[in-house]
Symmetry: C2
Subunit: 517 residues, 2 copies
Amino acid sequence: MTQRRRWVEYAESLKPQLEAIPQSPVSIVRPVSDSDCFLRWRMDVEANGTDLSKRLFRKGDQFILDFEGHRTGNLEFHLVGEGRSVDSPVRLKLTFGEVPGDVAEPFHPYRGQLSSAWLPEEIITIDFLPQKVRMPRRYAFRYVKVEVVDTSPNFGVRFFDVKAIALTSAPGQPAMLPAGTSDWIVRVDQVALATLRDCMQTTFEDGPRRDQRLWIGDLRLQAQASYVTFPNHDLVKRCLYLFAGLPRESDGFLPACVFEKPTPSTTDTFILDYAALYGAIVLDYARATNNIATARDLWPVAHRQLEILFQYVDEQGLFQIPKGYWAFIDWNVKLDRSAAMQGVIIYSGRRLCELAELTGNTAQIKTYSALLDKMTKVAHEKYYSSDLKVCISGPDKQVSWASQAWLTLAGCLSKEEASEALRRAVFEDKTSIQPATAYLYHHVTQAMIECGMRREALQLIRKYWGGMVEAGADTFWEAYDPNDSNFSPYGDVHINSFCHAWSCTPTYFFRASRLIE
Amino acid sequence: MTQRRRWVEYAESLKPQLEAIPQSPVSIVRPVSDSDCFLRWRMDVEANGTDLSKRLFRKGDQFILDFEGHRTGNLEFHLVGEGRSVDSPVRLKLTFGEVPGDVAEPFHPYRGQLSSAWLPEEIITIDFLPQKVRMPRRYAFRYVKVEVVDTSPNFGVRFFDVKAIALTSAPGQPAMLPAGTSDWIVRVDQVALATLRDCMQTTFEDGPRRDQRLWIGDLRLQAQASYVTFPNHDLVKRCLYLFAGLPRESDGFLPACVFEKPTPSTTDTFILDYAALYGAIVLDYARATNNIATARDLWPVAHRQLEILFQYVDEQGLFQIPKGYWAFIDWNVKLDRSAAMQGVIIYSGRRLCELAELTGNTAQIKTYSALLDKMTKVAHEKYYSSDLKVCISGPDKQVSWASQAWLTLAGCLSKEEASEALRRAVFEDKTSIQPATAYLYHHVTQAMIECGMRREALQLIRKYWGGMVEAGADTFWEAYDPNDSNFSPYGDVHINSFCHAWSCTPTYFFRASRLIE
């Protein structure tokens, strides 16, 4: 108990000072409905951003500012009243948009299942003018719509020095990709970097618009991407210690996510694959930083996860998803997760063995090697179909991208088997279960790279992430359905997050895996 | 110029530290439409205020708190999330009510002419729970309605430690009225005191809900009342210096009001009678405090007003309201102001002479006595009808309460003429022009006292101010029409102010004039 509290305190001591980068709006824009635009709206430039202070706004007037790029941060401006008498407060409504639809379409009636409190809109009243106004919360936005709800008949308002104060714990600017890199890769890389940068706050957030939460799964991908782009080792360390200090009290099992604010606190959300992968993050961290002491400190936490999870491996060597627990892998509800979970556990076990080696803890995992070999063997027997040349999962012998990816990453297939299986599932079998998230796209891409399918991996990145860029993404989205820009996993597109951390990994592949052309 | 700036700086140095008095809500109430209530709604008690934290609120829930008295101040509370997971912000709507209708009736659609930004409603979003929430602005309220716009499906919210932080620069508690004073007087006195207290902030405000502005006319009555109730001499001094430092640059004429925030600034609103009365406030101040030095310092400002106004006295000795200037007297648009203005100028001139005497400046006003005598004489000739035994004003020989009051206060009538005129205009002549404001009610009452009509003055107070108390006033209102609780000078009752400073003077009459029974 005391150690856990110490760990949380240590994590808090590592809370980064955010860099605050002020930026003026580039232009004043007007949304125009346009069926040629994937995002439904074209943003026509009305005027230069510097022209804003030339306009006097009265009751009912509005304008939309474009910062020409996604920002996580604050908004401030200087508001001046002008007229016969500035004799009342000013009431403004502000709407923050990551995409044009946020500021071009009404949020209400809202049809989503998630809390409407996430809708990025505010009504504020400023009592005394002139006044410097700093919006009270942090927002995720490229666009800001300002509606003048009311002044008084005696005056209008003028906006000076509107500034987005972009916040990030991402340090500096990553190196350029090598000269001659294809344009599309450079563009995808830029969008990936912006995504990561805007999710790097006082923790690695899943998305700055909504949830703003630290998840193990997201953390792993963000940390990997950060090492080769925006290295902030203390931020990774902070997140690792937050989890270490906030496990389930009874047995030390790690929750899938923790809340950072107002004070770090644990949750009762557990995801089997996330807990398993904690050790892999520690291993990545140790390798990226050569900080073995921290890895040694966190070893018991990483070890504990596999100790718990191995309890659900049956005599045959098959991981059996325990009732009441959540195996995530991806959001696709049709996915049978048995094969992929077997892969995740083996993958995580192998990483833990490496971590034991690195930290001098091999004595604690003497039985692991044999167990993992057994699990690997039975995985091949049970989940790989030599007839179909793909991995199958569940009673219906379901073919999915997830099963191929995770059994490949776990080393359950030969290189040839893996590449053949991935090719079939991803490019040939139109009925195979596809990913619903970039999180799984990442693992499929990683699996392709590991079995020598670098060209196909790049093809996949171009189609998925490149597709988002073509569709108008400034940062990578939480949800992307190329056939429906209104798709939302939550029943209302206006609650979607358009800057979502686990979508940032193309920059990792371009840089760590040198997957460029 | 430099002296004026110094005066403003001096005024700022006198800005009082407000007393902050926390108070818990007394009860949770539910408005019930009730035609027996003047204010249209009965407030039924649902539960004790201390029961609030026993309730868990979810999306769409609401409650109304009753602080059982009017407050000017802040609101704070501790908000706690409770449920499976506190996984989203909370959005609340708060509405502050001075009267039941504010929280029982929708503000929208709003039909008023004044800025809707004055409507006391806020939507706030609290990102992280538990959280201490302090509402960002100052409000005027007895009731607070809280609507939970949204939490998330996973949790509800509980409110702890809701506190109104009442703000005032009124010191201590005035002495009780003498034992045996009639109940109705005690009640009117209490309401008057609450009104004054809640308008005493860092200036004497006209009303804490709306405008919140320092006017010469309101200041004079508030200062008079304060000397016998909540003496804060520095606050009066501060206000006198604010005006002194912010006159019209060209000639030193005083504006009718100044803005205190964000920094003291002048206005282009001039009211002839207000400027005239500035010297009377200085005189009252000097007498209440024996601070002759301040009166001497401000003498040139007071003197300047009459110097300017005497320019509009014609050869006959009649004050001619100059074109483009505003003679206020009262809000009643039907009122012919000639007679009343003659009275105000004479009254103000007499007070200025007294001030000259007190400050050793008689050399500067050598001509005043003769001029005032001439004005007094012609006033009687021109405005007093010996036939009708009332004062008349304008081409239609209009009879009004205002003319009788101000010519009485100016000493233009004998005691007998004055009491007869007041009796006829106020109690007998149903067609005489009545006051639309408590400001004029005050002067009518004062005039009655001065000509020996103490019983009638008390009768007037009982009917007007006592009527408001009977109608449910916790503080005296800006507008009161006994026949229509929805009456508003601004087109919408929800923009009315229900705590308005110039209505506070019954306590002055009870205490300074010992007008009690």
